[in-house]
C-alpha cells in the first residue's frame, strides 16, 4: 500500500527566515507529485507538480520553490518567508485521482 508522509506537522517561523517542507511517498514508483497551499478559510491552490525526478513545473508564483531530488521525495522551500506564506501545505501523488498527505500547518509571525 502507498503511504505519504509530510514533515514537519506544524511550524511557527519568523518573517524573513528560510523554510523547507518535505513530502515522501512510499510504495509507489515514479509517482506524479504535487504541492498545494491553502490560506486559513481560503481555496486550495496548486503550487507545483512534478512528473519525474529533477523536473518541477510551477503553477502559481508565491515566492516559493520546489525540488524533486529523489523519485519518492518532493521538497518545498523558500529563503525568505512572508506573512502571506502562512497556511496549510498539502502534498499529493496521483494515479487515477489525487491522494493527499496529512499536511503541514505553517504560521509566519
Amino acid at each position: 500500500a502507498q503511504t505519504i508522509h509530510q514533515w514537519p506537522v506544524a511550524e511557527i517561523k519568523a518573517v524573513g527566515s528560510p523554510l523547507s517542507l518535505g513530502c515522501t511517498i512510499k510504495g509507489k514508483s515514479s509517482p506524479n507529485l504535487y504541492w498545494y497551499w491553502q490560506a486559513t478559510g481560503g481555496t486550495l491552490q496548486q503550487l507545483f507538480y512534478s512528473i519525474t525526478v529533477g523536473q518541477v513545473e510551477s503553477v502559481v508564483q508565491l515566492n516559493l520553490s520546489a525540488s524533486r531530488p529523489k523519485d519518492d521525495q518532493f521538497i518545498l522551500s523558500t529563503e525568505k518567508l512572508l506573512l502571506s506564506h502562512s497556511g496549510f501545505y498539502l502534498c499529493a501523488w496521483s494515479r487515477d485521482t489525487q491522494y493527499f498527505g496529512p499536511g503541514t500547518r505553517l504560521l509566519v509571525l
Partner: protein
C-alpha cells in the same frame, strides 16, 4: 485559466436529509474529481467522474461535460458527513488541478 464555482457556499441539514452540491467550471476538463475536506484539514477523494453518472455508497455524481457542470448528491446525510466538499476539474494529463472554494456542509442530529 480554469474558473470553478461551487454552490451553495454552505448548507445545513438535519440528519437523514439529502444534499445536492453543484460545480460549474469555465473550461473543458478531461477529469473531474470530488473531494471531502474534514474540519481538521485532511483531504480524501470521493469520486472521479469526468462524464456521466457514478455512484459510490450514498454518493452519486453526475457530470455533463458539454455544459461544464457536475453535481454531487449525498443521500441520507449523517453527522459524520459534515465538512467541506470540493470540486476539482483538470485538463489533459490531469497535472494542473483547479479547486473550487467548496460547499461547507453541516449535518445536525
Amino acid at each position: 485559466g480554469q474558473q470553478v464555482q461551487q454552490s451553495p457556499a454552505s448548507l445545513v441539514l438535519q440528519e437523514g436529509e439529502n444534499a445536492e452540491l453543484q460545480c460549474n467550471f469555465s473550461s473543458t476538463a478531461t477529469q473531474l474529481q470530488w473531494f471531502y475536506q474534514s474540519p481538521g484539514g485532511s483531504l480524501v477523494s470521493l469520486l472521479s467522474n469526468p462524464s456521466g453518472t457514478k455512484h459510490t455508497g450514498r454518493l452519486t455524481s453526475t457530470t455533463v461535460t458539454k455544459e461544464r457542470r457536475s453535481s454531487l448528491h449525498i443521500s441520507s446525510s449523517q453527522t459524520t458527513d459534515s465538512g467541506t466538499y470540493l470540486c476539482a476539474p483538470s485538463g489533459t494529463g490531469g497535472y494542473k488541478v483547479v479547486f473550487g472554494s467548496g460547499t461547507r456542509l453541516l449535518v445536525s442530529p
